[in-house]
Amino acid sequence: MARATSQLYLDGVSVSFDGFKALNELSLTIDPGEMRAIIGPNGAGKTTMMDVITGKTRPDTGEVFFNGTIDLTGEDEAAIAELGIGRKFQKPTVFESHTVWDNLELALKAPRGPFATLFHSITDAEAARIGALLETIRLSSKRDELAANLSHGQKQWLEIGMLLAQDPKLLLVDEPAAGMTDAETAETAELLKEIAMDHCVVVVEHDMDFVRALGVKVTVLHEGSVLAEGSLDHVSADERVVEVYLGR
């Protein structure tokens, strides 16, 4: 029931590494158009969850469905990306020997087959889109720089730009504000809220101000399963969340 109407549906997902349970019977449902913040202690399994959704890690048990019908556990990374799931990694990963512009061009939504790309030439609309994205991530001045030459924070921004360029249905954003100044963090929150108007977004972040600024439902993970769920105020009031995560 819940599955049919959901955008993303995880049920009873477990993953273990050499006996260590990184995810433990995790269940989670994201509705279409919803933005969800996920918080939880280091090692709670947030990144692992994203790995499971994007096909990087296969769950030992449990179901993962996209759009209510598509079983993601049977698909590989490329297929999942093609379905419309985009991801920003916790550690920024960009194509270092490509320029900032080319990084965005590669991410841009377009047919992905070898022959399509072989005969592809860039359209004005695409160029304009990349230009706009460069503005958004404030890297216009670095458009012809190799991505290798960016600072840590700039790489974060570039990766966010690439995620936007893909225009996926579901965005998985792992710690977007890490390494950003407070002002930039606030701005990122605005940006995500804007995107969330017509996309489904899952954000992982440790910055409570940022999560507060998003103003969405929060899920707290702990030891591989959901510890609490609700508004930020609601979960912050939970003793266990304070104990394992927020601290005093």
């Binding site: 590494f17 260590f20 916790q90 600072s151 840590h152 700039q154 390494g179 930039e184 927020l246 601290g247």
Partner: protein, 231 residues
Amino acid sequence: MLKVENIDLHYGAAQALKSVSLTADIGRVTCLLGRNGVGKTSTLRAVAGQQPISSGQIIWNGEDISALPAHARARKGIAVVPQGREVFPLLTVKENLETGYAPIKRKDRFVPDTIFELFPVLKDMLSRRGGDLSGGQQQQLAIARALVTRPQLLVLDEPTEGIQPSIIKDIGRAISWLRDQGTMAIVLVEQYFEFARDLADDYAVMDRGEVVLAGTGKDMAENEVRRYLTV
């Protein structure tokens, strides 16, 4: 004490630092702030010897160390917690910590208990490979690893990145505790303004490769600094 005097630093032809100067005293925390890409990490790399400088001087305890390789600087008591963690992915947590034995005397070659008190999670994961840890766990390991070398100068590049709030608080307490020991100078790069403000004894703000504002922590005027941190 550390004295950075008018250093320039280039990546190929591009200049990343222009005549940057900075001091850090034993028993004090010096905070370095600035937007993305202004040269904070570059400054720290220059201090740690990871990137050669093209002019200027770096003086540590009265000695010019500008030309020393990184490992020699580590042997002089400089430890770094780099941006992006850089733990050794295939070494276990224990082995990662033991790499910190390299610059210290044989009798000091053990992991102080305070480290595990600070980061209890590491104790549980001693035999897990560094690369398998979660992002925040890696960050904790990186800090712990630096502390194993019993440094006199601790250089931290955004140590709170990706760490859960409760541990950020612990790290804050730990840094002030270390400062209060009075044996260590600490240079901290931090984006998280409040965290920085609470810890800073001195501060410097960078913009486009230059230090544009500096002073003691007490008169770190929020507005003025924020001006350089907003877009």
